[in-house]
């Protein structure tokens, strides 16, 4: 982990959809180069948090700052382009797998990217499907394509929403290996997952999100071995009812 420089700073963030408060975070910092795993039951606000960090939406109140740039969808293109999200249900474009994986590079004006794309396809076991229309792929294949697509342009921030949810153990392993590789390169990663074991494997820090609030955060080791909050404990042991 590199120096304690905050990449993200969230202050007094409250996000509402209509009357419903879906996220309420008083203070959160994400340090450059760290991998923060966010665990919690579905509907706890993990995806919303990731949307705010991607600047897809501006929080109803409060501020989300990236590298001291604050904002929402109006944030500058340069800032936005350092961050990417792999969504829980990724959308592939109606073109070939190869074209999909190269998309991020194309929009950034990087034309000569065939080798880079092929490398990623191989790393994800998608080489055989390279020329196929991406729309015809299975759920697991789509997830891998989306992951490769996100890595292709080397973003400094990776926001991952259940990246291995649809993957069989082998492919899940391929994805985690790639995550680890990016960790080594100093990429800042936010990983939302309900797979607590994945959090244990990959996270430097873990946070527990419940009903839109952060109940507890801590270095992963500590978080799992000695959770402070009883709710965290209940969630981790599977005793929580929700």
């Amino acid at each position: 982990m590199t120096g304690a420089e905050a990449v993200y700073r969230l202050e007094s963030v409250e996000h509402r959809y209509g009357d419903r408060v879906v996220l309420q975070i008083d203070h959160l910092e994400v340090v450059r180069g760290e991998t923060l795993c966010v665990v919690g039951p579905s509907g706890s606000g993990k995806s919303t948090l990731l949307r705010l960090l991607q600047f897809l939406e501006r929080p109803t109140t409060g501020r989300v700052a990236f590298d001291s740039h604050e904002g929402g969808p109006d944030v500058s293109l340069e800032v936005r382009r350092q961050i990417t999200t792999v969504f829980q249900r990724p959308i592939v474009l109606d073109r070939s797998v190869r074209a999909n994986v190269g998309y991020g590079l194309r929009v950034r004006g990087i034309r000569d990217h065939a080798t880079k794309v092929d490398e990623l396809l191989t790393a994800l076991g998608l080489s055989a499907l390279a020329s196929m229309p991406a729309r015809t792929l299975s759920g697991g294949e789509v997830q891998r394509v989306a992951f490769g697509r996100a890595l292709a342009f080397e973003p400094s921030v990776l926001l991952l929403d259940e990246p291995t949810a649809n993957l069989d153990p082998r492919n899940a392993r391929l994805v985690e290996d790639l995550i680890r590789e990016r960790q080594r390169r100093g990429v800042t990663i936010l990983l939302a997952t309900h797979q607590t074991f994945q959090a244990r494997r990959l996270g430097h820090r873990t946070a527990f999100l419940l009903d839109g609030r952060i109940v507890e955060t801590g270095p992963t080791q500590e978080f799992f071995s000695a959770p402070r909050d009883p709710r965290t404990r209940a969630f981790l042991t599977g005793d929580m009812i929700y």
């Binding site: 936005r80 990417t84 959308i91 073109r95 996100a150 342009f153 926001l159």
Partner: protein, 224 residues
């Protein structure tokens, strides 16, 4: 069909008729797409106030009878009308104006509909991949390419098959403003159904070839 009918096909007059048909409809379609595709895409991409009214207007435009459009354009281009000085009445230029008016609502409304039909999640996905607003819009339009192609095909079909507007505005002048449809009307009127049918077949063949081209263009947009 006898051998003389085949020689009829080769008549220079017929070549001129086909040439003019392609020129008038082709130009009208080109202008309609140049304005209609971007406009339709914009309308389909953003939500705005008065969207329903615009949609209604365009949909109504799709149903305009060509002869009514022809009458309207005639009045505009007549020497006793506001644009008489252009002297576009009874010329291919006037016919192009009329056909552009016929084609435009089809292109715009159907493009709008196709683009609006693209999963909204695409916008978010592409945003997250670093697309600028323009790139985002263009990607969404490319996702809608099947629908957009259909819009162009529909507009082409409407323009090349209409007779009311080109007859009124063009006058079916031999050698100057006679196109396939007005020639067919002429031959039918004179009772020469065989010739009229033959021209009808030529029209269908042209439509077929044009649609083939459009489909290939659509396919190419999916490859990159």
């Amino acid at each position: 069909m006898s051998a003389d009918l085949l020689t009829e096909f080769a008549r220079p007059e017929l070549v001129a008729i086909v040439g003019l048909t392609l020129r008038v409809t082709g130009t009208a379609l080109f202008i309609a797409c140049l304005v209609g595709v971007p406009l339709g895409a914009m309308l389909g991409l953003v939500r705005f106030r008065g969207q329903r009214l615009v949609t209604l207007t365009l949909y109504t435009g799709m149903g305009l009878p060509p002869v009514v459009v022809g009458l309207f354009v005639y009045m505009l281009l007549s020497r006793s009308g506001p644009f008489g000085a252009l002297q576009w009445l009874f010329t291919p230029a006037g016919m192009i104006v009329a056909q552009t008016i016929i084609a435009f609502p089809l292109v715009a409304a159907l493009t709008m509909s196709a683009v609006a039909g693209v999963d909204r999640a695409v916008h978010a996905q592409v945003f997250a991949l670093g697309a600028s607003r323009v790139q985002n819009a263009w990607t969404v339009v490319r996702e809608a390419r099947v629908g957009v192609t259909a819009a162009i095909v529909a507009a082409f079909g409407a323009a090349i098959s209409e007779v009311g507007a080109v007859m009124l505005v063009g006058g079916n002048v031999q050698g100057q403003t006679r196109v396939l449809t007005t020639a067919i009307v002429l031959f039918t009127r004179q009772g020469d159904f065989a010739m009229a049918m033959a021209l009808g077949i030529v029209l269908i063949v042209i439509a077929f070839a044009a649609n083939l081209l459009l489909l290939r263009l659509q396919g190419r947009l999916g490859e990159r």
